[in-house]
């Protein structure tokens, strides 16, 4: 819910340049005008990412294949509601999710099998459905953000939050922010607990919360780092990249316990007649050039393992083999109880 903040970030200056050069890359002759006269409707996350994807994916596909693409901005929960409401006669073909809704969609028999496409093989098995009903095309990777000018040795583990020299310089998000929940779970895992045994996470959080700055909104990340008081916090790599672009020295470290992540996925409505175009569209999302552009401009990490990120982008995202897979069902089931406990024990 609160993670939707990352979906509406302003673009950097380089966008126009990237968008202008990419369509020149490899239009496939095989696909020449094969979807002429057809249209695909897809949901999108709005804002700069939607504009970028229009330029990098839908516009070139329209030129190459004749398929017109229309993106309609819908937050994941609303998109899922639409998918369910329009089961019999879908108005939208391709649904993009950032909140894990693709799992419920498949379980509710609302999706169909995606026709295979060349780039799908390069996506690790845990980031796509075993039955081919959905596939990820991007990641928001979490980890440790820190001020390299204040912290000489880059942090390597969630245990580093307990170094005495960081006392009074730590911030972490409230549990109602998705990253706050993930921090709690990762602390639990670091100290012998799990999603089912959250106690060690709360014990650990209690040790640092007394003098830590607990914040609620994503917009506060830059303010906190800019204040100079805050040196280290758990958040996503894209925020570090954005801070750096704003002139605030912030680096990102992948913790050795693994980086929690948010998946950006695509799934096709069961009765859509445009699964072939949808697959083509998702495949284009997964082109290494497009993956790189999305990483650079929006901060979403690539899932196509063939992607080579340039050195100015790579340090802000976790590679797919460093991810920590959290039990989202358990987390969602426990959320009310954890929030209550957090308010009483941590945010005092």
């Amino acid at each position: 819910m609160s993670r939707d903040g990352f979906l509406s970030r302003p673009l950097t200056r380089r966008t126009a340049l990237t968008a202008a050069t990419l369509p020149l890359l490899a239009p496939s002759a095989r696909a020449q005008q094969r979807f002429t006269g057809r249209e695909i409707v897809a949901t999108a996350f709005g804002g700069p990412s939607q504009d970028l994807i229009q330029r990098l994916v839908y516009d070139p596909i329209a030129r190459e294949t004749g398929a017109r693409g229309t993106q309609t901005p819908l937050l994941s929960a609303n998109a899922f509601a639409r998918m369910r409401a329009e089961t019999q006669a879908p108005q939208i073909d391709l649904f993009m999710y950032s909140g894990g809704q693709q799992v419920a969609a498949k379980a509710g028999d609302l999706t169909q099998k995606l026709p295979d496409a060349p780039n799908f093989a390069n996506v690790p098995a845990n980031l796509k459905d075993a039955d081919g009903q959905w596939i990820a095309w991007g990641l928001v990777t979490e980890g440790i953000l820190y001020r390299p000018d204040k912290i000489a040795t880059p942090p390597r583990s969630y245990r580093d939050f307990f170094k005495p020299e960081f006392e009074g310089h730590i911030a972490f998000p409230h549990i109602t922010n998705g990253y706050g929940t993930d921090f709690l779970v990762m602390l639990a895992k670091t100290f012998g607990g799990s999603e089912q045994n959250i106690g060690p996470g709360f014990e650990a959080l209690k040790r640092i919360s007394g003098r830590a700055n607990i914040f609620r909104s994503a917009a506060e990340v830059q303010t906190l780092f800019a204040s100079g008081d805050i040196w280290i916090m758990p958040y996503d790599g894209a925020s570090a990249m954005r801070s750096k672009a704003m002139g605030i020295p912030v680096s990102y470290a992948v913790p050795e316990e693994g980086a929690p992540y948010v998946l950006l996925t695509g799934a096709v409505a069961k009765r859509s007649r445009n699964a072939d175009i949808a697959s083509f569209v998702l495949n284009r999302h997964l082109d290494p050039e497009v993956q790189t552009a999305i990483a650079r401009e929006i901060g979403w990490a690539p899932v196509n393992t063939a992607t080579q990120l340039p050195p100015d982008v790579a340090p802000f995202m976790a590679p797919t083999d460093k991810l920590a897979n959290l039990d989202r069902d358990a987390i969602n089931a426990n959320r009310p109880a954890w929030t209550d406990r957090f308010n009483r024990e941590i945010a005092r």
Binding site: N213, F215, R216
Partner: protein
């Protein structure tokens, strides 16, 4: 008799549009909210039987009282000066005092946050006085929320008091002084007493806006701000427990209404 009935009809006619709007846009939704709070497991006893939630309610009421006191103490002298200023700049000065209201609550709160961080000007000043710990910061504290809320609600207090003080007949003050009262006594016995309606109206406005404020307590208070509006937001949007959120909203409404009524009654009785 007929004259009286006609007057009654006219009064009802004049009241009808406002009453209709009030009924449709306030009473009806409030009723719906109340009914929603009755659905599912008991919500009111969950709130009232839990010291944590009672603490949240206490925080909100205390916030309302503190902000009202601060704005009253700071606002009255200013409103008095503006009302009595015999200059054509008075209007402009009054306009200037409303400036905080022109800025978005979010922008204003972010500005306060910069001042309230450990290295911010306001926190530095307090550290310099030696009254607080050297690493003290106003962000995330109750005092910080009071300061930021008082700043934005001060204009409301000033404008309300200004209108009432301007309506106080200065001849009454002069008469009191002619009868031997010192200016201070005249101010206390005449002006303040006649301006009580303004004090009441201003206080009620500031109090009700403070206890229900969301953006400022949430941003300045951060996660440690346990106030009613923030709790309602959390239950509604984060935890999707709408019956409980509705119950908290109903409790907030009833409690703040009773506080306001009691206050109004006390002040009203003293005026007589």
């Amino acid at each position: 008799m007929i004259e009286g009935a006609r007057r009654g009809l006219i009064a009802a006619g004049l009241l009808a549009p406002a009453a209709l709007v009030f009924a449709i846009l306030f009473v009806w939704p409030q009723l719906g909210l109340f009914l929603q709070s009755l659905g599912g497991p008991p919500t009111f006893s969950r709130f009232l039987g839990d010291s944590y939630y009672l603490g949240v309610l206490g925080n909100s009421l205390l916030l309302g009282v503190c902000v009202t006191l601060v704005t009253l103490v700071l606002g009255f002298p200013l409103a008095f000066l503006l009302a009595r200023a015999e200059t054509r700049w008075a209007g402009l000065l009054l306009l200037l005092t409303t400036f905080p209201l022109w800025v978005s609550a979010v922008v204003r709160s972010f500005a306060w946050m910069v001042l309230f961080f450990r290295s911010g000007v306001a926190s530095r000043f307090l550290q310099g006085t030696g009254l607080v710990a050297p690493d003290f910061q106003l962000i995330g504290t109750f005092a910080g929320v009071v300061i930021a809320l008082a700043q934005v609600l001060l204009p409301i207090m000033i404008v309300t008091l200004y209108a009432v003080i301007r309506g106080v007949d200065r001849d009454l003050e002069h008469a009191a002084m002619n009868l031997g009262a010192s200016p201070a006594v005249a101010l206390w016995l005449v002006t303040l007493r006649l301006a009580r309606g303004g004090v009441l109206a201003g206080s009620l406005l500031v109090f009700s806006l403070s206890v229900s404020a969301f953006a400022t307590p949430s941003l300045i208070g951060g996660a440690r701000a346990h106030f009613m509006a923030v709790t309602i937001y959390e239950q509604t949007l984060e935890l999707l427990d709408w019956p409980f959120a509705a119950a908290i909203a109903a409790i907030l409404l009833v409690i703040s209404l009773s506080v306001a009524l009691t206050y109004g009654k006390l002040l009203g009785e003293k005026t007589r």
